[in-house]
Point group: C2
Chain length 125, copies 2
């Protein structure tokens, strides 16, 4: 496995967290989310976002409406959090903090609380 496909795996789940976070304070539409969460070094691409939004809506975590902004040329589909979505993002943020702290800690230290006795006697070397 190369680094690129590892990154793909790493992104699993994070997309959902980021999208819900971005919707927490503002109503936003697809491409707008993509600009903020995708772009360079982002965590999200076109073909990931739309299925994700569809799923979140189906699950009742976000609500959608079609609207025509004053400066827009075509209608856009705007999403916002539902009450259920608000509750979930709060929980997710807590879990993310624990999770990332755990990974970072494992990364930094060798966790060598119990340094094992160097094992000897290799078998059938």
């Amino acid at each position: 496995m190369d680094i690129a496909s590892w990154q793909t795996q790493l992104r699993k789940g994070a997309a959902e967290l980021v999208v819900l976070s971005l919707l927490q304070r503002q109503e936003r539409y697809g491409l707008e989310i993509l600009e903020q969460a995708g772009g360079s070094g982002g965590v999200l691409s076109d073909g990931t976002l739309y299925p994700l939004l569809t799923r979140l809506e189906r699950e009742g975590k976000i609500l959608a409406r079609w609207a025509m902004a004053d400066d827009a040329k075509v209608p856009r589909k705007y999403y916002r959090l539902s009450d259920e979505g608000e509750a979930m993002i709060a929980e997710m943020k807590k879990l993310w903090n624990e999770f990332s702290a755990f990974v970072s800690r494992a990364m930094e230290e060798a966790h060598d609380g119990t340094p094992i006795a160097s094992p000897s006697r290799t078998i059938s070397a």
Copy 2:
């Protein structure tokens, strides 16, 4: 999707990072890794670890040997990083830092650099 299966998705990729990190300073065996990376609030379980170790070995990122530690009752399979693994974990750590910083930032702020004009005129409400 419930929170539990979201966490499962979140863990994708992280397991590999954590395992390689734990092998960075010490040779370790399976259950030992599991105690440090699994346990309560961990990121890893039995059925995840062994296939992962097998894959990493097949890919040449880690090296294995069977050894009998002085205090052990049965032989254990000890893993350590290969040169290739060392190079990869360095890269992965860098990417993880960027990635987690990005997610955390998206989580904390609304990224409201360009507050959009509130879209009006809902269509076919």
